[in-house]
Symmetry: C2
Subunit: 430 residues, 2 copies
């Protein structure tokens, strides 16, 4: 249930802030003193749920939810949200509601407790934000029509969109072990590629390092082997959303990917933002998706608004640059396939979904020339390099470049932000 | 270090037995009384390592290996081998050696203890054999030249072996969450496919259910993000081998797999055998691999014998049949790419490998007409159905069919078996 847009917190929230009372995304924070803790973001602060539980602020909730009671406060002192999610959807919904209650302007319980505020509220600028979820499995979809068409035309001129694309949300299994927290530097990978004009491959640092702007959802409820998920129930399996940078080495990818799909061209790293924004928080930003033509098969036929109006941006900051440059602005509403359709399709063969699974959208591009979510598209596979304000050009990422992705939904004075995911490119290993 | 082939156990081992003293594979057994336990197989018995530890049979070892000492006996009362493996390679090597010592013919310590034998030795026929490893990640290679050529010619007539195939071990990320224990029934999946002659897909139970005969290795030592593994060290990262049935729905697969690779056509189930056979046990069966032409790039260039002479068989038993029929006999030495090459390639871009990862070989076929490891090849994509002894024919698997895969290495009186992996096809859900 979304939180009343009119409600205010006793914590001061600025209009451009990503994390008002209506957002309350979950993450894992850490300080040298405390170690990892489950937290929710509120304005410039993180509310430490372990400290809250220790001070009794979750006691009432624990009385109502026996699975939470037995797990408190232990479940909040973890390195990932997975243990909290495993307690079940009613628990994570109730925990967020309790946080909203503690933080609303007229509740003195925490607000007026000097000890409570000191123990539970940490400035976000003073804590480390870790990877929020340990990805149990990671699946990457290919859900943007514009991206699939643009990328397809570069890899397969004359044959961009394959016959299956409009019938099912195409996807592949990604590598879960290399999903890293925002801020983790990404080392330029080495690998095999076929240099232009060569007849035999070479091995060395990728010459075509790219980012991919994606959104990922976190599975909050698992399914059993052999079970399926009707489309109408799919969203209840989703805990929340993350920004996702699916770093790609285009030369390695194009040499290796036939016939079984991307492998080492992707598996060296994927970066995720630190705060998981719940679907409840995004409820006011629902929009219908694009018309699907031809109509999908019945198990994928949706009615209603299953897409979300979320603005996404990619910025690039070279090592010496004083500030980042905007490369791309697009919107998740451009996605052809909704998250619900992705999840239902994923489970349609009985494949078990697990708590902590990440399902990424694939690169999100739009129709506008500046709405392209990766350099592959922005530079037409390096043929049309971008010129940056410092006069340097980029066909692909350079060592020292920092890629920053941001996302937010905004409407009628309400702003629900996704924060950011960033990563700096390190030179290849010697 | 392999165990002296001349050594005998005080347990009676028959010549056709898969599990002599020289094998000692690891698995997870369970009884209603005990719950899951780490065990090694010896002849018709399983040695319960938790019981052994409780009775002090690992005390001497624990003194030498501090990481084991602190973990005993807890690490042996788990639902997977992962916790044991995480203690490190020296520990799992030493545990197996200690088991060999306890079981050798001239050691009275366990042999002559009535209590010890009663507590530690269970008849294999009386215990349940669980999935030995919780797969952290699962990667499927495509390492058999014969399979890649045969399968490629059916999916892409005229263009079977793609240009990259002889330069790198092609692979894709598989789905770890649907890897199941031998004996788990496999429900016929539903999915999208394009019926022959149709222009639009349909959704329903697969009409082309297949098995794939594979071997998988279990990663026993992880690597850090950004690390690579030189080929000469690759085998030390491998804990042992399993038989692997990569069930496949060919109609779903061929409709969905372009351009990102197999997804739901595979992810409904993969079955693994219950006993993980160590590389040490297979040491006497090393053989050189096939000549690789053209020579691979330096990071994949091997000298020495990195392949293994292991006979593999697939048998099919229809629901009413009194006994199974042999469909295929092949050998792992036919693989073009060795496990060491697979692992080194996998880590070459810095992708972290994790303890418990499964890396499967891809279907293992040989040159002979009866050495084909899947129905796709055996029946030429259903065009040449097999006739079974009961007169029925099979283009693809029927409901009620049980697929059994077996493997063993045998030479000069020494037989190291891999046991079997089996699964029965259940009808699709209503």
């Amino acid at each position: 249930m979304p939180i009343d847009p009119a409600l205010r917190s006793w914590i001061d929230i600025k209009p451009a802030d990503d994390f008002p009372l209506q957002n309350l995304p979950f993450g894992i924070i850490s300080t040298p003193d405390t170690g990892p803790r489950v937290a929710v973001a509120i304005g410039g602060y993180a509310l430490d749920l372990y400290a809250c539980a220790q001070l009794g602020y979750f006691d009432a909730l624990a009385d109502d939810l026996p699975t939470l009671g037995a797990a408190l406060p232990r479940v909040f002192r973890r390195r990932s949200l997975n243990a909290l999610l495993k307690l079940g959807r009613p628990v994570w919904l109730a925990v967020r509601e309790r946080c909203a209650e503690l933080l609303r302007y007229d509740n003195p319980a925490l607000r007026d407790s000097e000890l409570g505020v000191r123990a539970c509220l940490l400035r976000r600028s003073e804590v480390e934000l870790l990877r929020p979820v340990k990805p149990t499995n990671y699946t990457d979809f290919y859900s943007s029509l514009e991206h699939a068409t643009n990328a397809g035309s570069l890899f397969r001129p004359g044959n961009p969109l394959l016959p299956n694309w409009r019938h099912l949300p195409v996807a592949y299994h990604g590598r879960a072990s290399s999903v890293v927290a925002s801020g983790t530097p990404v080392r330029r990978p080495q690998g095999q590629y076929l240099p232009a004009g060569a007849t035999a491959p070479t091995f060395g640092p990728t010459q075509m390092l790219d980012f991919e702007l994606e959104m990922a959802f976190v599975v909050g409820q698992g399914t059993a082997l052999g079970s399926t998920v009707p489309l109408g129930q799919a969203e209840s399996y989703i805990f929340g959303l993350l920004l996702f940078n699916d770093w790609s080495a285009r030369d390695i990818q194009s040499w290796e990917y036939q016939p079984l799909g991307p492998f080492l061209g992707k598996s060296f790293a994927s970066s995720v933002s630190g705060w998981v924004v719940t679907l409840d928080a995004l409820e006011p930003f629902r929009v219908p998706g694009p018309a699907q033509e031809p109509a999908p098969l019945p198990y994928l036929q949706a009615s209603g608004a299953h897409h979300f109006d979320i603005t996404l941006e990619v910025l690039l900051q070279p090592a010496e640059a004083p500030e980042p440059t905007l490369l791309c602005r697009t919107n998740t509403q451009h996605l052809y396939w909704s998250m619900a359709q992705q999840l239902t399709h994923h489970a349609s063969n009985g494949c078990p979904l697990a708590v902590g699974d990440l399902c990424a959208s694939g690169t999100i591009s739009g129709a506008a020339p500046d709405a392209l979510g990766c350099l592959l598209e922005l530079t037409r596979r390096g043929q049309q390099p971008l010129t940056l304000p410092d006069g340097s050009s980029r066909a692909w990422l350079a060592d020292g470049d920092t890629v920053i992705m941001r996302g937010y939904a905004a409407r009628e004075g309400l702003r629900i932000g996704l924060g950011e995911v960033r990563g700096t490119v390190l030179p290849a290993a010697e």
